[in-house]
Amino acid sequence: MEDKNIKEETNWFARAIDSDIFYSFTRSKLVMVAAFVTFAYFFIALFAPILATQNPFDLGSLDLMDGLTPPAWQEGGSSKFLIGTDDQGRDLLSAIMYGSRISLAVGFTSVFCAALLGISLGLISGYFGGFIDTLIMRIADIQLTFPSILIALLIDGTVSALFPEVRREDSAFWVLVLAISLSFWVQYARTVRSSVLVEKEREYVQAAKLIGLRPFIIMLRHVLPNVLGPVLVIATINLALAIITEATLSFLGVGIPVTQPSLGTLIRIGQDFLFSGEWWITIFPGVALAIIVLSVNLVGDWLRDALNPKLR
């Protein structure tokens, strides 16, 4: 008996392989492909400086003469630029790698910030109730009436008005993160609050109160771990949403500037040339964006179903 327990303890990898979630993972080829694509993307984005043939952010290395080169298989294409270049002579493949890097970084950071803010406020709101609860939830309601694009414009304007000396290139990333997390936190706060309302009436929380633990400790040690399941699912699906929002904002010109193009910025650049026949500048970043969002979404959907005991 004792030995068996210790074995279970040490071999966490075997336990993970044996778990229900892993089983449901292996049951669906679609999810496996989606997960593979997602991880491949993360890998490419992470190692872009090694994998890419050119640094598209380094304006000095660009040659305007290479501008608007079509993909390699088309007439006038060059084997140096596999899927063509944009108007500045950037290699599109490298630009997409670097662009995904920015898109993913914005996505992850804003999802993290939104989750942190939302979980904290949801915990406080649900656990203490009363006036604090009403206040936080009304702020959340008001928050929901502002689209994230409006918030981004607002913050962008405020930042450039307050700190005229800050360069757009430096502030753009954090403006985006702030805008996206400010519009996403509500979802976390509401989900966490409703779970907390259920969990705090549970008797194990009462038992913890009984031994005189402080509310903060009870929230962190007892309540929080038991409400994190749904948060994980929201975070995954929100990652895809955050990437799309980033692309939308960049496409509209509020996001990442042209000197450090993200996927959305690349699509915007290409849009100017779409009708003069240079289709590749818009299409390839667009396809890249669609694939990453679709894969992350598929993984998120699967996770939601896999973690829902009623669907098992």
């Binding site: 327990n5 549970r202 008797e203 194990y204 038992a207 109160k209 009984l210 031994i211 005189g212 038991n226």
Partner: protein, 332 residues
């Protein structure tokens, strides 16, 4: 059992605010509404005895339990444990010490253990919270002892709560309650979620532990046969008020209050004496709008005009504390 009084509850009141939100009240011209869950309740529990509170759902038993352990603040009245007033803000340090001497066993063993914690962590939490042991090894040893004490193996500590049955979980809850060396344990319907066969095991375990450690129990239940097995004295609650308090023997042999009789008539008769079982008539009224006078009068076979007007006071008859006009006047 000694004659020292361990727990003293005096004129306890508890109101719950059940008003509609402010905006609704302003527009609909409604006043604030309060639910009186506990109404002027006084009990005394002696060291080492088991005092049971019985009553239908909604009679306020659990509210009393929560107030006695300090999970709810009383609206009015005092609770004294070991001559220490629980609401005394000047004695924070003593009260903190006191907390370790009061523990609670809950009704639902499936909700009372944190599902993500191993049993050893659950049981050792009070030990660490009250600083009873400081060294890691001593904590592990003590946790093992507690688990063996309630009839589990020390190695069960490595498991998670979902690996246990309802009865075993209730044993874990008891182990946790014992971890801080309490004097006084409040049991809020500890067996109502269990199978009948397991109920008996848990009740016997609790009695054994009571003998071993000289524990005092406040035992909340709606099951009179369980109460008969466990309690020394019984208080019958109706709509937040205590209607009869008596020794277990005299209560079962000679119930005075019409409500107590009604409850006893509904118990299945194991001796098969041919006595007819009478189902309980009517339902407990809405506590937001309780009946005037004696709250039991709409269901009482003995009620008269006085019962509708006057709230009865408690008086002693052959050792039973009874709160009833009919018994007082000898109409029963």
């Amino acid at each position: 059992m000694s004659d020292t009084i361990l727990v003293k509850v005096e004129n306890l009141d508890r109101l719950f605010d059940v008003s509609k939100p402010l905006l609704n009240r302003i527009i609909e011209h409604e006043k604030r509404q309060f639910l009186r869950a506990v109404d002027n309740l006084s009990i005394e529990i002696k060291q080492g005895e088991t005092f049971a509170l019985v009553g239908e759902s909604g009679s306020g038993k659990s509210t009393v339990a929560k107030m006695v352990v300090g999970l709810l603040e009383p609206t009015k009245g005092r609770i004294e444990i070991d001559n220490l007033d629980l609401s005394d803000k000047n004695k924070v340090k003593e009260l903190r010490q006191m907390r370790s001497e009061i523990q609670m066993i809950f009704q639902d063993p499936f909700a009372s253990l944190n599902p993500r914690w191993r049993v050893e962590k659950i049981v050792s939490e009070p030990i660490i919270a009250f600083n009873l042991e400081s060294e890691n090894e001593a904590i592990i040893k003590r946790t093992g002892e507690l688990l063996s004490l309630v009839g589990l193996a020390p190695s069960d500590g490595r498991k998670f709560p979902h690996e246990f049955s309802g009865g075993q979980r209730q044993r874990i809850c008891i182990a946790r309650a014992l971890a801080s060396n309490p004097k006084f344990i409040v049991c809020d319907e500890p067996t109502s979620a269990l199978d009948v066969s397991v109920q008996a095991q848990i009740l016997n375990l609790m009695r054994d532990l009571q003998d071993k450690f000289g524990l005092t129990f406040l035992f909340i239940s709606h099951d009179l046969s369980v109460v008969r097995h466990m309690a020394n004295r019984i208080g019958v609650m109706y709509l937040g008020r205590l209607v009869e308090v008596a020794d277990t023997k005299s209560l079962f042999k000679n119930p005075r209050h019409p409500y107590t009789r009604m409850l006893l008539d509904a118990i299945p008769d194991l001796e098969m004496s041919g006595k007819e079982r009478k189902p309980i008539e009517g339902e407990i009224p809405n506590p937001i709008n309780p009946p005037t006078g004696c709250t039991f009068h709409p269901r009482c076979p003995l009620a008269n005009e006085r019962c509708k007007r006057e709230i009865p006071a408690s008086f002693n008859i052959d050792g039973n504390e009874v709160t009833c006009h009919a018994v007082e006047e000898g109409r029963s």
